[in-house]
Symmetry: C2
Amino acid sequence: MSTSRGARQPTIKEVAGLAGVSPMTVSRTLAGGRNVRPDVQERVMAAVRELGYYRNENARSLRPGQPSGLVGVAITNLANPYYGNFALGVEEVAAEHGRRIILGNSGEDAGRERQLVSDFIGRQVDGLILVPTSGDAEHLRPERLGEVPLVLASRRVPGLEVDTVLLDDVGGSYRGTVSLLEAGHTRIGFLGNRSSVFTGARRYAGYERAMLEGGAPIDPAIVARDQQDVAAASRAARAMLELPDPPTAIFSANNRNTIGALREIGRRIRDGLPGPHPAVVSFDDFELSELMPVPVTIIDHDAQLLGREAARLLFARLDGSADEAARTVELPVSIEFP
Amino acid sequence: MSTSRGARQPTIKEVAGLAGVSPMTVSRTLAGGRNVRPDVQERVMAAVRELGYYRNENARSLRPGQPSGLVGVAITNLANPYYGNFALGVEEVAAEHGRRIILGNSGEDAGRERQLVSDFIGRQVDGLILVPTSGDAEHLRPERLGEVPLVLASRRVPGLEVDTVLLDDVGGSYRGTVSLLEAGHTRIGFLGNRSSVFTGARRYAGYERAMLEGGAPIDPAIVARDQQDVAAASRAARAMLELPDPPTAIFSANNRNTIGALREIGRRIRDGLPGPHPAVVSFDDFELSELMPVPVTIIDHDAQLLGREAARLLFARLDGSADEAARTVELPVSIEFP
DNA sequence: CTGTTAGCGCGTTCAG
DNA sequence: CTGAACGCGCTAACAG
């Protein structure tokens, strides 16, 4: 009378037995019913319902050439709402194509990513969509992946020529920084990821180009490029705002750094520290940005769309409607002024 | 020379061939190498590396009794950061147990949830974790699920006695509302989900009890219970704030309603409309709540922890270390004053 | 220590 | 229109 290990899932044989037909007839009925008499189909479906039968997709995909209907998705940080939306975009398009996603969180760790990819391939995924970590990428090389198509999102991997969806990181950062320069700022701080992170490097490049072109000096004392989370970002912002000559504006290269910077600015305002408090340009949107105590310009883009686009590239590959060459799609960003 | 359909994944046979052993020896080596000579193991592993072989997990789990190592997770709205964190919690604990998650987004649609569950079972998941929709739940009845254990999170399903993780919705809402009453408010609006949503009903119940006990009348004109997204919440907030006698405080039953309400309050402040502007109590945390133009009290809880706890209940069931009776875990919430 | 046999659930192929 | 045989990749159980 234990709860478990008793009656496993019913098989096609049991359904066949109950319906008084051969397993083959059940299979055919489930496959659409071609070449099966309607009344027999009735009996089969009745047996299916009675037994609570579900077709075993794993056994099904055992046959070579049969797709598993699974797409492996690895993300660097699901706790970041940005990647939640990304995953949703992938999931939606996959569902439209009758596929399911297997999701793993790499936590920005290359070893974990490698494990995830191994497991995904072992489960016969039809394709992979990754936001790659910045570590070693040996496990993503084509000869390791065999036939399984790979799409990268958000970041490129050096030396890996595969379908990729990127944002216009450089252009967005450039335009965002220019908007600060045009507003009269010359002392503009930078908060971002370390340059080994692909987007970190690209977004810094946009900032740098705008500063150079605008004739504004880049002071290393107000450039902080190693914050991966909100707490670190707050500390970095604090350090530069406590300088004798603090920045009058801050360019933040991503959501986590923006939140950290604003948290610190808010603290200073509440503590009654003297202003002026810095204006902020943020790469990545966040909710209620219009209610901030300092003007916040948003370099906005759609994570869900990024996910959808990545999935589209993958399915184009799977349908064979993509040609040999790896494709890169760069999605535009929009700038929203306060 | 086409990219595809050519060299499928190598099989255990090919590895065996290359290593000059039988498939069984490869299998044993991969399973840990018991009863295989070290030098033979070497040869096998070399062949594995050379061919880029991955064990086919689907074929493996074909054998009865073998777990698939997959957990099916269905969520109502991945775009909500709250559920992203929930998924992360589940994923983490699953990974600790060597399992992977298959993730689907039900979008609050019972039909879609049913499809997802069918597919999950067809893929031989070891267990299911759902944030159930509020629709028909026929497909979750034990006889439909067979041996597959189910854990519900966040919401209960009427008539379904299964392991469940809930928040202390009633207590949190009660205490949050009491804090407003103690601050002198008596005209307190309510924004939330329709009562068919489990949490919607529970959170309203806490609000209602506090209001009754506090002797504060509940005015239907400032109770709005049908907002599922931010835009609808904004409209509802606007409607009650434009009344001749608007509420002096608002209790918001979830993240989406809170953002909507604050967006509307912010708009009124920017437009220079006369105050006083309402204080807000929010069930669910959000970032930068400390920077809002009106005081915001947070009824806080940890979505990631909710996910972890749900996964723990599931694995307790799978390990057989849980007894027959369905368990309910109610996680506490904490109140953070502005 | 290693190999052979058999069968998991399903669908393609070929007979009726 | 229906069924029987075979094999997909893998591993317990049983030789050797």
